[in-house]
Amino acid sequence: MAVVHNWQIGRSMSYWYPEHRPRRQFAAVFDVNKCIACQTCTLACKTTWTTGKGQEYMLWNNVESKPYGFYPLAWDLKLLKMLGPQEWHGGEYTGRTLFEAAPAGKRVLGWRPDDKDYAYPNVGEDDCAGTIENGAGLSVPHLTWFFYLARICNHCTYPACLASCPRSSIYKRPEDGVVLVDQSRCRGYRECVQACPYKKVFYNPITGTSEKCIACFPKLEAGEQPQCFVNCIGKIRLAGWISTPEKASPDNPIDYLVHVRKVALPLFPQFGLEPNVYYIPPVHAPVSFLRQMFGPRAEAAVRTYQSAAGDPDLAGLLGLFGCTEKVVPRWRRQDEQVIAQDETGREILRVPLREPVHVRKAFDEKYQVARTNCP
């Protein structure tokens, strides 16, 4: 085991391989507050990549309703229970990562889902965190809560799937940090399926190999965002490149949201994988739940997000989500406009900080007729 630095947990940790970061790292920010669970992302991915034999059950992208929706069943609860209670002290995680908690004979602490665990995607989606009594659900803030969690492979800096593969069939691309299963080398041992805490590696029973989200790398290579990003109805996603904290640049959208404003957080950072999909936490879920899921900075992130209305830079950047198919490596705000730029600083597009409001009167004075929105 090597010793590597994981900035998300504020300390060094054990990992199977030495630290070797890619030249640039694919990353994403998902704004949980804007997701409506329409599953358009899920279908965009499904129809693009997983409509072959043996891929029927695979959802490289899924959206689940938290706290009781899962895919596969109880993926997070099972692992949290296996890991047991752990602690943070300030920004430093003092508990054990999945690599440090590996049982004898294994490289990673994990579990392997059964066939049936995949058979009921999001089966608990209608179950909220408590009972609604006497119209309490109509009050604000809600006494009960849930939120939608969209998930893809996190293309981790320290992938558990990669560490666990005894054949070195999984690799991390040096040019963009995308984690891939070498389909010519995999023999379907499924150590990766067991090791990935997010359960984003899937076994294809027809071809006998494991498969996973590829971050639509052909699109990335063409400077475009993945399918699940550009098809998102709620415009909750932004793809880009993330730096390590000491190299963070405010004109990099991902760096700005993750490092500068610290409004977007990794999913279960305590697992130790340094995942590269970052979530703006839901504003209405209990802080204790958010801390467990997104780490100790969750409460501050929610506060920052709630202040966005009076913060033209933060609000402006959030307005760039879902506005272009292109990856946006740089951005800037110019008065009331937010500008997306490519690597060279050339403008990709610009959006207004505030959309103009047009009021369409219910009664048309010219034609003396009442307008209606019905067809």
Partner: protein, 289 residues
């Protein structure tokens, strides 16, 4: 009380004598090495009577606990091995106890399997028994119960694995593509990446075995096709599998080589390095075919 015990013993012995066929041969005495007995042909059928001509070696299986992921709990305790050779090919008949056949792949369903390993060269110092070592390869022939089921006729669809699965549509079944046309096959490959890149494990499987070569743990790679064959059948107690492969160069007369075996128990989710295996066992040839 004592008289009763004596009576039971006598009755048991008598029943055994009455039940035994008069012409039954004494079971072969297990031998300390694997002896490949010369025979005119090496039968592929594990139930062929010719296998009884070869002495049986009972190979104790050990935990693979040298490299991660390790086998930490013992499963299959032993494999019973017989070997025949026709001079050009050598066949190994492996038999082991396994109450339930595991030959159906699935997310968490693993296949029963076994393998034979030989050093690539007959040398005084054999390579490490654990998959060989750099510069000193071993040749492995691997048999899978799941592949055997394919060879025996199980189809190549999700309904063959999950009979109640409902499928809306596959792109390669679009009406615009003629059935079994090159365009349709090309489209199907697009959605089977492991097949598209020619990974031998991806099937469809015309053989239940695969020839492999390794130079240490984690280096297992497909070997050039060597015409190996395999056939596994269920027995009342488990599996009997025959693996027939090319005779190792130089393995004749007094020359000895080494052989090793491995067994994977599907119900225990054993695969890859998680297996029961032997160390090197001496391999000798007896007689002329």
């Amino acid at each position: 009380m004592r008289r009763n015990v004596v009576s039971v013993v006598i009755a048991t012995l008598a029943a055994g004598l009455v039940g035994a066929p008069a012409c039954r041969q004494a079971p072969p005495v297990p031998v300390a090495e694997v002896v490949a007995v010369a025979h005119a042909a090496v039968p592929l059928d594990p139930l062929d009577a010719a296998w009884q001509r070869a002495p049986e070696h009972v190979a104790v299986l050990l935990l693979q606990d040298l490299v991660e992921p390790r086998q930490t709990l013992a499963s299959t305790p032993e494999v019973r091995v017989r070997a025949l050779t026709d001079g050009a090919r050598i066949g190994f008949r492996l038999e082991w106890a396994d109450a339930v056949a595991n030959d159906l792949p699935g997310a968490a369903r693993f296949s029963d399997a076994c393998a034979v390993q030989l050093p690539s060269k007959i040398e005084p110092n054999v390579p490490a028994p654990q998959m060989g070592e750099p510069g000193r390869p071993v040749e492995i022939t691997y048999w899978s119960a799941a592949w055997q089921a394919n060879v025996n006729g199980r189809g190549d669809s999700i309904n063959d694995l999950y009979p109640n699965a409902a499928i809306d549509h596959y792109p390669f079944q679009a009406a615009s593509l003629s059935p079994d046309s090159s365009a349709q096959r090309e489209m199907a490959l697009r959605y089977a990446p492991a097949r598209a890149v020619g990974n031998p494990v991806a099937g469809p499987h015309a053989s239940a075995v695969q020839d492999l070569v390794a130079e240490g743990p984690g280096t297992l790679a497909p070997a050039p096709p060597a015409g190996s064959q395999g056939l596994g059948k269920r027995t009342p107690a488990g599996w009997a599998v025959v693996i027939v492969r090319r005779m190792p160069d130089g393995l004749t007369g007094p020359t000895r080589s080494q052989v090793a075996f491995a067994v994977w128990e599907g119900s225990k989710q054993e695969a890859g390095a998680v297996k029961m295996r032997t160390g090197w066992i001496p391999l000798a040839v007896r007689g002329q075919p």
